[in-house]
């Protein structure tokens, strides 16, 4: 399994990356949607974990482009406290799962390990 982490908060993404390293999970990280898309063009990822609110190319637009570039890559949307309509929109655009910050790494990994779609988006 190879994971790409995208969040404009560099300390969050690098620390999460280090925690995945400790679990021997191959991963890369990017601090913008644009940078993440460049990586997706050059490497194959099973999962992309992406923040919803980022400067420049935001999470929603990035999800759309990721699905266009790499349809088989699955996406987990990271949110702070987002409106239900944002999450619905993300689902329509192709996000497979969501996770509310702060990240619980065990929950993150269990989301990646199950094929079952997340049943409900928060309201």
């Amino acid at each position: 399994m190879k994971v790409l982490l995208i969040d404009d908060e560099k300390e969050l993404v690098t620390t999460l990356s280090e925690r995945l390293d400790l679990r021997h999970i191959a991963n890369d990280w990017a601090t913008s949607g644009e940078e993440g898309l460049e990586l997706i063009k050059r490497h194959a990822y099973d999962w992309v974990v992406i923040d919803l609110k980022m400067p420049g190319l935001g999470g929603l637009e990035a999800i759309q482009r990721i699905k266009k570039t790499s349809p088989s890559t699955r996406i987990i949307l990271l949110t702070g406290h987002s409106a239900a309509e944002d999450l619905d929109h993300a689902l329509e655009l192709g996000a497979d799962r969501y996770l509310v910050k702060p990240v619980d790494i065990d929950v993150l990994l269990s989301l990646m390990q199950t094929d079952k779609a997340q049943e409900e988006w928060p309201r």
Binding site: L22, G80, P102
Partner: protein, 210 residues
């Protein structure tokens, strides 16, 4: 509660307070998310030490140092939000305009970051305005929003405040310059203050309030 505000202005005020608190709580949530990651990593490194794998002391020290920094940043964000909340106190009928400007620019930092623009403030101490701080702050926020609307990523939004006879002159402009539209008077909680587009920026003039 006697707030002496017409319903329409009260609605604008609530909209403004909603925007500020949503933005500030996002900022706090972000800090907590980073602190969470760093403290969890520390916990995992220490758990590995118990199992005989020596953690790198330099990395441990660096992580602890960053947790301290991020706790400080979260504390600043909470202080800004708390100071903002007190601006709505009904018994405060006077505003230190420079202080309020500084406070609102601090709260506008996140929306500015999301647009990739930097903020710069040059304010000289002016006369106190005889209005409730929250009303002045709503006007400042509306001007910042209108100016930022036209800013390209990488721009600088400059705010300058100086004294004028009987009041204050506040300018909002962009670098590189871009034409800015004034917020409609009906969107402001202080319709008696003049706000107009001038040159490539916004000009706010107060007269009867000082």
């Amino acid at each position: 509660m006697n707030h002496n505000l017409p319903e329409e202005r009260l609605a604008r005020l609530l909209d403004f307070m909603g925007k500020v608190t949503a933005s500030a709580t996002h900022e706090i949530k972000n800090e907590l998310a980073v602190i969470n990651e760093q403290s969890r990593l520390l916990q995992e490194m220490l758990a590995m030490a118990e199992n005989g794998r020596e953690p790198d002391p330099a990395r441990l020290g660096q992580l602890i140092g960053r947790v301290v920094v991020r706790v400080g940043q979260a504390d600043q964000a909470v202080r800004r939000l708390n100071a903002f909340a007190h601006g709505a106190d009904l018994d405060r009928g006077q505003t230190d305009a420079a202080h309020s400007l500084q406070k609102i620019m601090g709260l506008f930092q996140r929306p500015a970051d999301m647009k990739g623009i930097s903020l710069e403030l040059a304010a000289e101490q002016g006369p106190a305005l005889q209005v409730r701080p929250i009303l002045w702050e709503q006007l400042v926020w509306a001007c910042l929003e209108k100016t930022a609307e036209r800013a390209a990523s990488g721009s600088k939004l400059r705010v300058g405040m100086s004294k004028r006879e009987g009041g204050l002159r506040v300018e909002f402009c962009l670098e590189p310059p871009a034409p800015v539209e004034a917020p409609p008077p009906e969107s402001l909680c202080l319709p008696e203050v003049q706000v107009r587009a001038e040159g490539d920026g916004l000009l706010v003039l107060t007269t009867p309030l000082a």
